[in-house]
Symmetry: C2
Subunit: 231 residues, 2 copies
DNA sequence: AAATTCAACTGGTATTACCAGATCGGCCTC
DNA sequence: GAGGCCGATCTGGTAATACCAGTTGAATTT
């Protein structure tokens, strides 16, 4: 026997099973062997095995359920969406301005990438959202939602899921804070924002990344400047 | 009793304990009650309790160990560091290129912000790291580490913790993949990278955000182009 | 052939016991 | 009396076993 087995049984099981998933030995979307057969194969107790499984489940890579077999789930962006707010919340000094900086940094090049890669479907969806946004006349809470959807569709058009995920989380946060501060709303700002959306849309339609970047950055900076300095 | 308790015992325990941590009932850095006392207080078996605890542990909010009490840990970036490779590995298109895009998008404006906000201490640290990096002659694995440290120090100089956190995670992953592909290393690339670090340093010293951005973007694009197209 | 039922899976929970690291107080030595 | 040694007893980690409860699918019944 070794001097001391530094890692616990649970940990080694977790590593082993995670590796099987990453290497594709346990393909995504497919069921893994039952707990009973696994504890035989690996020569461990069900306790240790289940603790390792519960770690995988809490990470979102396993979809378990009472009575059915456990299947490997694709760890998609939802995991990041759960984690990022947690990190942002616990990180001290996570003020609005700092989050906005990240949004600006990400979304500006994202607009450029979207201009390069947008498909016909992307363009159509963007058009719909820009029009829907332009139709909004009321001061109702719909405003931030359609605005958000337009921006997220731009992110979607980059066809980079990581960008989409990050912007999803960050934009949601930024817009939530913004709409909170614009309790009454400023009509003239809306008109400008509506025109800005169409400008961005046209740049993306023309597949002009530089113009898309410029328009997006101007739009974001303007809306940010509207929000009265938040703490 | 309710018709059916939809959530499992483990899940409700997890929620309960996570809430205790978030509300501060179980303060960060402090030990939580022992498993035996918890299973008495909550009226559950040790199995369910331990599975919930293992979920907390896998999220990084609990620091458990053999023989000592479990203490509440602050969720730091390490959680993201563990998750991101997983997402990239399992996401079908979550390739190196997509992660690099995010790094480029974030680090370029970060260099600009660093130029505006760097303190004297930031500058000194950057200088040390650039020099240390320049001294590296061997092909040893030190190369990526000092390179990473320089870049992270640039992020640090933005004094935006969210940028620091995100770049910490993303750069780590990008550089890990890069160093993996540069098995032999290309000396001429090193020289260029060393000069690039000094160029960035000088721009930050001069507090010239535009130049810092340009230099950083050029540096990143060059090193990325070196990595032989990684699927 | 279609609907129904039931038996054999599956994962979820509970009980009990023991192992091993960590701790701290009392004891022994100096 | 002060300091180091040591073990009783805390802690979490692992194990074996049993049973509960959804799920499933094949055999049975209509």
């Amino acid at each position: 026997m070794l001097a001391t087995m530094r890692v616990t049984t649970t940990q080694s099981l977790f590593d082993e099973m995670l590796q099987r998933i990453q290497t594709g030995a346990w393909p995504v979307g497919q069921a893994i062997p039952s707990e009973r057969s696994l504890m035989q194969e690996m020569g461990v107790s069900r306790i240790a095995l289940r603790e390792a499984l519960s770690m995988l489940r809490s990470l979102g890579v396993l979809d378990t359920g009472h009575g059915r077999k456990s299947v490997v789930r694709r760890v998609s962006t939802e995991l990041l969406e759960r984690i990022l707010p947690l990190v942002c919340a616990l990180e001290p000094g996570g003020s609005y301005g700092q989050v906005f900086e990240v949004r600006l940094a990400l979304e500006t090049p994202a607009a450029g990438l979207a201009a390069l890669r947008r498909t016909g479907a992307d363009l159509q969806r963007l058009e719909e959202l820009a029009n829907e946004y332009a139709r909004q006349e009321t001061v109702a809470g719909h405003y931030p939602r359609t605005d958000l959807e337009f921006h997220l569709q731009v992110a979607q058009a980059t066809h980079n899921p990581l960008i989409t995920t990050l912007l999803n989380v960050i934009s949601r946060y930024v817009i939530a804070v913004q709409s909170h501060s614009w309790n009454s709303g400023i009509p003239v700002a809306w008109d400008r924002a509506k025109r800005a959306h169409f400008s961005i849309l046209e740049a993306i339609r023309a597949q002009d990344p530089d113009r898309a970047r410029v328009e997006m950055e101007a739009h974001l900076r303007y809306t940010a400047a509207l929000a009265p300095a938040i703490k």
